[in-house]
Amino acid sequence: MSTNACLQLSLYLVVLLACVKPLGAYMARVYQGRPFVLDRVLGWLERSLYRLAGVNDQAEMTWRQYATAVLVFNGIGFLALYALLRLQGFLPLNPQKFGAVRPDLAFNTSVSFVTNTNWQSYGGESSLSYLSQMLGLGVQNFVSAATGMSVLVALIRGLARRSSETIGNFWVDLTRSVLYILLPLSLVLALVLVSQGVVQNFRPYERASLIDSSGAEANTVAEQTLPMGPAASQIAIKQLGTNGGGFFNANSSHPYENPTPLSNFLQMLAILLIPAALCHTFGVMAGDTRQGRAILAAMLAVFVPLALGTVVAEQAGTSILAKNGISQRASSSSPGGNMEGKETRFGITDSALWACATTAASNGCVNSMHDSFTPLGGLIPLWLMQLGEVVFGGMGSGLYGMLMFVVVAVFVAGLMVGRTPEYLGKKIEVYEMKMASLIILIPPLLVLIGTAVAVSGPGLAARDRDTGTVAALSNTPGAHGFTEILYTYSSTGNNNGSAFSGLSTDVPFYNLTLAVAMLAARFWLIIPILAVAGSLARKKSAPQSAGTLPTHTPLFVGLLVCVVLLVGALTFVPALALGPIVEQLQMTSH
């Protein structure tokens, strides 16, 4: 483990944690309707949006009304995106004249963006028009993130309120998330990214004649077509909204999407920024900032060792490179390590840290190819997703998932001492436990059943659309091929979106089953979360007593971390043993 890696991780954590309090407090003001500066500037716009949409911003919703609004809004978003992708050939801002996206791929892509997963079966620069990117994918980047934040805020209100039938107004939470949080942050980040070299224009692709024209004789090419487009605006929200869908196929490893170490640092910061700050927002809105700090501490306790582990595994390198006599030692002039699928400007450290940030959050964008990671280096991002995307996790969804683990943790503690479990003065009863169990169990079910179905046959081979021959979908035989499929369902079943891309998933079987996994992982969780919010809001507050378990202490943080890790380990160790662990043993035995 190099000094540079430790310093980079420390700098990253210091900057991230320094942002948590100011941003978290600001977001709390936005959701509580207390005055902040931006509402004076943009208040007229917010009010006119409500007027045009016929929204009464003073009227609150019950949890059922809130859930209906969430589903209606996301349903409309899905239909609009699907239509846009199918019709892009007839629409403007399409300088490369791309035709309609195939139905199964359009379905998969629409679901993936509405559910904040951003699974990439499409290749941006080779199939999507500028209009589809900005008015389709870009809009969902904003509103799917805002949906997650709104649902979280509703749950927090449920915890904070006493004897209340309502949990807020979805239209107001949604509009405020977009207008006062996501748009201003994206605007700033997008412009900084352009200053680093991320493209932002509406020009047709640029043709360049190569510097070394000797390729023409060697029967290759003498020309290069450079893709263009409004990329920076999209990449800013892709990172801030834990979306992760790339403007270009290679995502954030593409030099036009992530050109410098500084752009890399800022994008990596943006990945965890809002999920981390929401912990403080939760503390403020719940009236006890220690509670938010405890949850943030639990997230960091899982994240930091795993991030360091990935750096070590990738720097150690692979046996294939070692066998061929290639030095994988880092020096001042060479990054060393496993550089397959990594960019020179990022080397091992930036690639490994990013891989952990993007899978800890449900972002899923990549700056290196996870499929080419060492077995253990790939196991960690895989497991971070399988933990249920609660270590930072998605916009709102990470924290509401973690709060369900908190419910389970206080329940376990309650069993140990024989008392009714409580959290923030609310009694945790059978109904809450049922919903929390659903929320914790649904993603593993999607992952394991999906993987089992795929490896039993339909996910192994498919007929090629052009040639009609049947070909294997994975580029790898054996344990690694299994890991590819496990990673695919772990990613979609937890709304992450990153991939082991050696598996070709742009076939009807995967496009459809992965879409189902993404939908279930998103909405089958949102509905029980809102049900819990409604049930908690109705409860009276139980007075604190000497027997109340404090939930802000290091002891409780330890208990929470144990519950998260135990559930994650017990559920997935058998599957991990068949994939990356076997592969690691194979690699070291050769």
Binding site: A69, N141, S186, G197, Y205, P255, S331, G341, T344, H590
Partner: protein
Amino acid sequence: MKSALRSGLVLFLLLSLLTGAAYPGLVTLVARVAFPHRANGSLILRDGHVQGSRLIGQPFRDARYFWGRPSATTPTPYNALSSGGSNLGPTNPAQDKAVKARLAELHAAHPDARIPVPVDLVTASASGLDPHISPAAAQYQVPRVARARGLAEERVLQLVRACTEGRTLGLLGEPRVNLLRLNLTLDNTERDATFGVPHAGK
């Protein structure tokens, strides 16, 4: 339900306009004024013709140029229309084969290399468009390029050093050499040597 449908539909349309049209439009306008070169792809122009982008790697095959990292894009290497990596896993036999082939080619072209082959010259980049190589990878190729161009090795090494960027703030990223910049500098140096460096005034 009915009022939810109406509110949802109108709000979706309005937020789409705001985030999908006004926002990218505003960013484009400001970017065009503040960073016109970068917003348009950091293009390298020579005599009004686009020769590439400072940020996007190109294939170099000639012995007179420094070579870049292996690129896994299809159907040809460094195809900017289909960015991506090899996605070959750490135990994949295809990876072993690819590494062996790259090594053989490098050994054949660099009989007089003084340092072992650096890892980035035998591994494909993530984007397939990596514009950089490590300083070690450049150093490895110095004897070949110097011989092919008839330049002194020390002179070529000097140019490599001039084109080497360190870590940002001494901390972020990795030290690296921009290949397009280095190879263009080499071409220009040679041209200056052939035609004489143009002098100002008389």
